[in-house]
C-alpha cells in the first residue's frame, strides 16, 4: 500500500508519519508538497500534525485552501483513504471533509501526554484491526483539540457510528475527568459518512514502537493496511 504524507510549511509531524509508514509499516511512502496537486499515486493520504502555515489564523484554515487539499478532496470523493492526525484533523474539518471544528482546549493550555482512548467502532478502514471497547494508550499534543459540533451533527455522528475514538479512563470509562480538552462527548476521532476519511487528535505514529513506550497506535496504522493486527 502506498502512502502520501502531505507537507505544509509548518508541518512538523510529517517526518514522523513518513518514518512510521516506511520503517514500521514497511510500505512505500512519498512526501507531497502543499503546492502540488499530484498525490503520487498513493492509496492512503496522511495529513500530519504540526502548525500548517504557522496556524496564526485558525488551525488548519489556511491549509484548507491549499492546492494539495483540492487534490485530496477529489481523492476522497473517489473513495481514497485519508487520515488527518492532530493538525491534519483540524485541516479536514476546515476543508469540510469532516464535520465540526476543534476549539481551544478548555484549560486554554497546550497538553502533551499519553491518554486512554476507547475504540468505538471497529468497522472502519482505520479501526478494523481492533475490537469495540478496546482501550488504547496513545499520546496527544495539541492546544486546540476540543471537538465541537452542533447537537444534530453530534447525534448524526453517534447514530451512524462515526465516532471511532473517545477519551476514556484506564478501564474504558467515558467520564468528563478523562476528557483532556473538553471535546464534545469525549470525541477524539471521527470518520466521514462514507467511512474513508478519518480525523483524530491523538498521534498513532508516536505509539507504534516498543522503545517509545506504546504500540497501540498500530491498531490504527495496521487497520489502514487491511486489518492485519
Amino acid at each position: 500500500m502506498k502512502f502520501a504524507v502531505l507537507r505544509f510549511p509548518g508541518s512538523n509531524c510529517d517526518q514522523d508519519a513518513y518514518f512510521a509508514a516506511l520503517n514500521v509499516l514497511r510500505q512505500p511512502v512519498e512526501y507531497v508538497w502543499h503546492e502540488s496537486t499530484d498525490l503520487a499515486g498513493a492509496d492512503c493520504v496522511i495529513i500530519p500534525g504540526g502548525f500548517s502555515y504557522g496556524d496564526y489564523l485558525r488551525c488548519g484554515a489556511v491549509a484548507a485552501l491549499s492546492p494539495v487539499m483540492g487534490a485530496v478532496r477529489k481523492f476522497a470523493a473517489s473513495g481514497g483513504l485519508v487520515i488527518g492526525i492532530c493538525n491534519g484533523f483540524q485541516i479536514l474539518c476546515e476543508s469540510g471533509l469532516l464535520p465540526g471544528v476543534l476549539l481551544r482546549n478548555r484549560g486554554l493550555r497546550f497538553i502533551c501526554r499519553h491518554v486512554h482512548l476507547r475504540l468505538e467502532n471497529a468497522d472502519t478502514p482505520f479501526t478494523r484491526s481492533g475490537t469495540v471497547g478496546k482501550v488504547l494508550s496513545i499520546p496527544i499534543a495539541h492546544g486546540e483539540g476540543n471537538y465541537f459540533a452542533d447537537e444534530s451533527t453530534l447525534r448524526e455522528l453517534e447514530d451512524s457510528g462515526r465516532v471511532i475514538l473517545r477519551y476514556c479512563g484506564p478501564g474504558g470509562e467515558i467520564e468528563d475527568r478523562y476528557n483532556p480538552n473538553g471535546a464534545a462527548r469525549n470525541i477524539a476521532g471521527i470518520v466521514n459518512r462514507e467511512g474513508n476519511v478519518a480525523g483524530m487528535m491523538p498521534h498513532p505514529e508516536r505509539a507504534c514502537e516498543p522503545i517509545l513506550g506504546s504500540e497501540d497506535g498500530l491498531v490504527i496504522l495496521n487497520s489502514i493496511l487491511g486489518g492485519r493486527a
Partner: protein
C-alpha cells in the same frame, strides 16, 4: 571615509554612555579608527563590546575552561560545541540565557530564548533534536511571580511546540531571590554528521553574502546592551528591546538551511542573535581573516525609513547570514524561496579585513572586523569573598527537629522546588520527532538516535542554594549532580554546556562568586573528563532589592551505547529489592543538612558548611551504576537530591505507582539520614535474583551498598530504630506531589 547617515544624531559623551561604552572605551574606538566614529560605527562597537557579546569581564575567568582556552587561542570557537558520539555522528549543544527579556516580557522573552538557541544549533548544520530549559522564579505566593511563570512556560511551549523540537527536560526552582529577576535558560541539542559540520566563517574573497529568513525591523535594538545592565524600576520601558518570536518562520528556516547546506554551496553561515547583522558580519569575517562589504539598502526591511544604525543593530529574529560561493547564489536562494523565505545578496567577502557598510552605495561605516569581534577590551575585576559566605559557613548546623516524619514527607513533596513539574512539561510537546525514550520527570531525558544502537541522555542541573553557600564546592556539586542524573539513566557523561547566571560583576562580591564558581565547574569537568564545549554568561541579574543566588546551570550530555539499556526512576515490580549505593559513606561527613530543602523549610535559609566531594569515589559510583545498567541488573535508579532520601524513595514510588517498605539501616541520626542531601547517593531497585549481582558490582568498585527493603504494597514505609518512622499511602504522596503546582497556579 564613512559619512554620517541621514538623521544620525550628533555624537556626545551622553550618547556613548547611554549605549554602554565608557569614556575610556570610546577613546579606544577613536584610536582604532584614527578618527571619530560615525553614529552607526559607534552603535556597532557598543553592542560588540557589551559584556553580552564581548565577554569583557568574564573572558579572563572563562579561560579556566580548558576547551574554551584552546579554541579561543586557535580561533576555532563556533556557535555551539560538537561532541562525537560515535557512528560518524556528533551532537551540537549549547545553553543560553534570556533572563532580562523574560523579566519584562515573559512570553516573548522566553519564546525568543528558545528560538535563539535553536539557531545556534542548526547554523552548525545540525538538525535540532531536543530542547531543555532551566527556569528560576520567586515564590508562587506572589501574583507577579505566577504571571511570569505562566507566561514563560507558555512562551517556551509556543515556540518549541510549533517549531517541532521536543522539549525533553530541564528544571524549575523557586526562591525569593529570583522574584524580580527570573532566570530563563534554554538549551538545545542537534544531530549532525561529523563530516557535515557547518562553520561560521566568511572564507573566499569575492564570495557572496546573503541575508536569509525574516525581514529586518526595529525590534530588539540594543538588546545585548540591555542584557548588560541591572534591572531597575525603568526596566519595563525596555519592553521594545525585547524581540518578537515567529516559530513558524524558524521552522521554515531550519528546513531551508539544512537543505541549502546539503548543496555544498554555502561556505559559512552564522545565525543572527544578539547584535544582529553587526555581529554576524564581523564575526564571520574576523574568523576567516577576511573583510566584508554590505549595503544595508539591500536588506529586506519590515518598516520604511530605517537608518543604517537601526538595520545594523536590529535583533529581529529568524534571520541568518550565509556566505555562498560566487556563482551559486541562485541555487541557494531558490531553496529558501521555496520555503517562503527571503534570500538576498547584500554584499561580498573582501580581503581588507574591514566590515564596510554602505547605504545605497555611500559608506556609513568602515571598521576592522577583528576590532569588533575579538578586541573587546577585557578587564580583571576585583573579587572579594562576601561576608555572608563566612557567616553562613560558620553557622553550626542544628539537628532539625522533626516530630512527624509522615507529615514532613508530605510537606516536602508539596514544596514547589520538589513537587512534580508535570504542569510545566505537559505544556511542551516532548514527543515530536518520535525519538523520546524517557519523558521529562525522570532523572534525565533519553533519546534514541535513529539507525544506530546509541542513545543520548541529557539533563540540566544546579542547586543554587549550595552554590550560594560555597560557590566553588557548590558548582562542583552541580556538575556531579548532572553526571549522577545521567548515570541513573544508564548514560555515560561525556560533555557539558553551561549557563553562568550571576549578579553585577562590577561588584567584587558577585565577581568572587563568579570566579569561584567557574573554578569549581572547570575542576569538576576536568575530573570527569567532560569538557565544557559551549556556554553563555549572564551577568547583572540584580534588581535594586537583591541579587540572585549565583546560578551556574550545568547542561550535560551522556551517551548510552545501547539505548535499550536506559533506566528510569520509577519502581517497576512488586518484590524488587531496594538498594542504596553511596560514594563516600561512611567516611565523608554525610549526611549533612547544609543547604537542604528541610533546612530552608524549617529554618528559613540555607546555612552551614558543605561536605567535601571526593572525585575518585564519585567516579567509582558512576562506574558501578553504569556497569549495573549495561548488565541490565536495575529496575530503577534515582539520584538522592533535594529533599533527601525520603523524597527520593517517595518519587520512585509515585512514578511507579508502587509502595515500598524499607529499613533505615544507616549510622547516625534519623533526620539527616532521611532528609540530608549528600552528593553521591543513588537509590536503585533490582529483581531479587539480581540483588547479589548489584551488591557484588558495587563492592568491586569500592561503593557501599545497603539493602534497605523491597518494593510493594500501597504505602511508603520507612522503619528505623526498631519502630515505624514513616508511613504514607502512595496515593496520598502522589496527590501532594502532583497537585502542589497546579493548585498554586489555579489561584490566578
Amino acid at each position: 571615509m564613512p559619512e554620517a547617515a541621514l538623521r544620525d544624531p550628533e555624537i556626545t559623551p551622553e550618547v556613548w554612555r547611554e549605549m554602554g561604552l565608557s569614556d575610556d572605551e570610546y577613546r579606544q574606538v577613536e584610536g582604532i579608527l584614527g578618527r571619530p566614529p560615525t553614529y552607526t560605527e559607534l552603535g556597532m562597537f557598543a553592542v560588540m563590546w557589551s559584556e553580552h557579546c564581548g565577554y569583557k569581564y568574564s573572558r579572563p575567568v572563562l579561560r579556566l575552561f580548558k576547551r574554551y582556552r584552546e579554541q579561543l587561542d586557535s580561533g576555532a570557537l563556533e556557535n555551539a560545541g560538537v561532541v562525537d558520539i560515535g557512528d560518524g555522528y556528533g551532537i551540537a549543544m549549547k545553553v543560553e540565557s534570556h533572563n532580562h527579556p523574560s523579566a519584562v516580557e515573559p512570553f516573548q522573552g522566553a519564546a525568543t530564548g528558545v528560538g535563539g538557541i535553536l539557531r545556534d544549533i542548526f547554523t552548525m548544520g545540525a538538525r535540532p533534536i531536543a530542547s531543555l530549559n532551566s527556569l528560576r522564579f520567586g515564590e508562587l505566593s506572589d501574583p507577579h511571580v505566577r504571571y511570569l511563570f505562566e507566561h514563560v512556560v507558555a512562551g517556551i511551549g509556543f515556540y518549541g511546540n510549533c517549531v517541532g523540537v521536543p522539549t525533553i527536560g530541564g528544571e524549575v526552582f523557586f526562591d525569593p531571590c529570583y522574584a524580580g529577576n527570573p532566570l530563563v535558560n534554554a538549551m538545545a541539542l542537534g544531530l549532525v554528521r561529523l563530516d557535515r559540520i557547518a562553520s561560521a566563517c566568511a572564507r573566499g574573497v569575492g564570495n557572496s553574502v546573503l541575508i536569509v529568513g525574516s525581514r529586518t525591523g526595529r525590534d530588539g535594538i540594543h538588546g545585548a546592551t540591555f542584557a548588560s545592565v541591572e534591572l531597575g524600576p525603568d526596566s519595563e520601558s525596555k519592553r521594545p528591546n525585547v524581540q518578537m518570536g515567529d516559530p513558524f518562520t524558524e521552522k521554515l528556516l531550519i528546513e531551508a538551511t539544512l537543505e541549502a547546506l546539503e548543496t555544498g554551496a554555502i561556505v559559512g553561515i552564522q545565525d543572527m542573535g544578539a547584535a544582529g547583522i553587526t555581529c554576524s558580519t564581523c564575526e564571520t569575517a574576523a574568523k576567516a581573516g577576511t573583510g566584508m562589504e554590505i549595503d544595508v539598502a539591500l536588506v529586506p526591511q519590515r518598516e520604511e525609513g530605517m537608518t543604517p544604525y537601526e538595520i545594523m543593530l536590529s535583533e529581529s529574529q529568524e534571520r541568518m547570514l550565509a556566505i555562498v560561493q560566487k556563482g551559486r547564489e541562485e541555487e541557494v536562494a531558490s531553496i529558501f524561496r521555496r520555503w517562503g523565505l527571503n534570500a538576498v545578496v547584500i554584499g561580498h567577502v573582501t580581503d581588507d579585513g574591514l566590515v564596510r557598510v554602505r547605504q545605497n552605495g555611500r559608506v556609513v561605516a568602515e571598521v576592522p572586523a577583528k576590532a569588533l569581534a575579538d578586541e573587546c577590551p577585557t578587564y580583571q575585576l576585583d573579587a572579594s569573598e562576601p561576608d555572608y559566605v563566612v557567616r553562613l559557613r560558620s553557622r553550626p548546623v542544628q539537628s532539625l527537629r522533626v516530630d512527624d516524619h509522615s507529615s514532613t514527607l508530605l510537606k516536602l513533596l508539596s514544596r514547589p522546588c520538589i513537587a512534580s513539574k508535570r504542569w510545566v512539561w505537559e505544556q511542551y510537546d516532548h514527543m515530536v520527532q518520535t525519538n523520546t525514550v524517557v519523558f521529562p520527570g525522570s532523572d534525565a531525558g533519553v533519546l534514541r538516535i535513529r539507525g544506530v544502537k546509541t542513545g543520548i541522555a541529557v539533563t540540566t542541573d544546579c542547586n543554587s542554594r549550595i552554590v550560594y553557600l560555597d560557590p566553588y564546592t557548590g558548582s562542583r556539586m552541580a556538575v556531579y549532580e548532572a553526571a549522577r542524573n545521567l548515570v541513573c539513566s544508564g548514560a555515560k557523561p561525556v560533555a557539558v554546556t553551561d549557563c553562568l547566571n550571576f549578579g553585577n560583576p562590577e561588584k567584587p562580591e558577585a565577581f568572587w562568586q563568579f570566579k569561584e564558581s567557574v573554578r569549581g565547574l572547570a575542576d569538576a569537568c576536568e575530573e570527569l573528563s567532560t569538557p565544557v564545549v559551549s556556554g553563555n554568561v549572564s551577568f547583572y541579574n540584580e534588581t535594586p532589592e537583591s541579587a540572585i543566588y549565583p546560578t551556574p546551570v550545568v547542561g550535560m550530555l551522556g551517551v548510552l551505547d545501547d539505548v535499550t539499556n536506559h533506566v528510569t526512576s520509577a519502581f517497576k515490580r512488586e518484590g524488587d529489592r531496594i538498594i542504596l549505593l553511596a560514594a563516600g559513606w561512611p567516611e565523608d561527613p554525610w549526611p549533612s543538612l547544609s543547604g537542604s530543602e528541610l533546612q530552608v523549610m524549617l529554618d528559613g535559609e540555607p546555612y552551614g558548611p558543605l561536605p567535601g566531594l571526593d572525585a575518585a569515589r564519585q567516579k567509582a559510583l558512576f562506574a558501578a551504576v553504569l556497569e549495573m545498567a549495561a548488565g541490565r541488573m536495575l529496575s530503577s535508579a534515582h539520584d538522592v537530591s533535594e529533599g533527601g532520601l525520603a523524597v527520593c524513595l517517595a518519587e520512585s514510588c509515585i512514578a511507579g505507582g508502587l509502595g515500598a517498605d524499607v529499613e533505615l539501616r544507616l549510622p547516625g541520626p534519623v533526620v539527616p539520614s532521611l532528609y540530608g542531601e549528600p552528593a553521591g547517593v543513588i537509590l536503585v531497585s533490582t529483581p531479587p535474583e539480581r540483588a547479589s549481582d548489584v551488591i557484588r558490582t558495587a563492592e568491586a568498585h569500592g561503593v557501599m551498598a545497603v539493602e534497605m527493603g523491597g518494593v510493594g504494597g500501597p504505602d511508603i514505609i520507612v522503619r528505623g530504630e526498631g519502630a515505624e518512622l514513616l508511613r504514607v499511602a502512595v496515593a496520598q504522596a502522589s496527590e501532594a506531589w502532583e497537585s502542589a503546582i497546579p493548585a498554586a497556579m489555579d489561584t490566578m
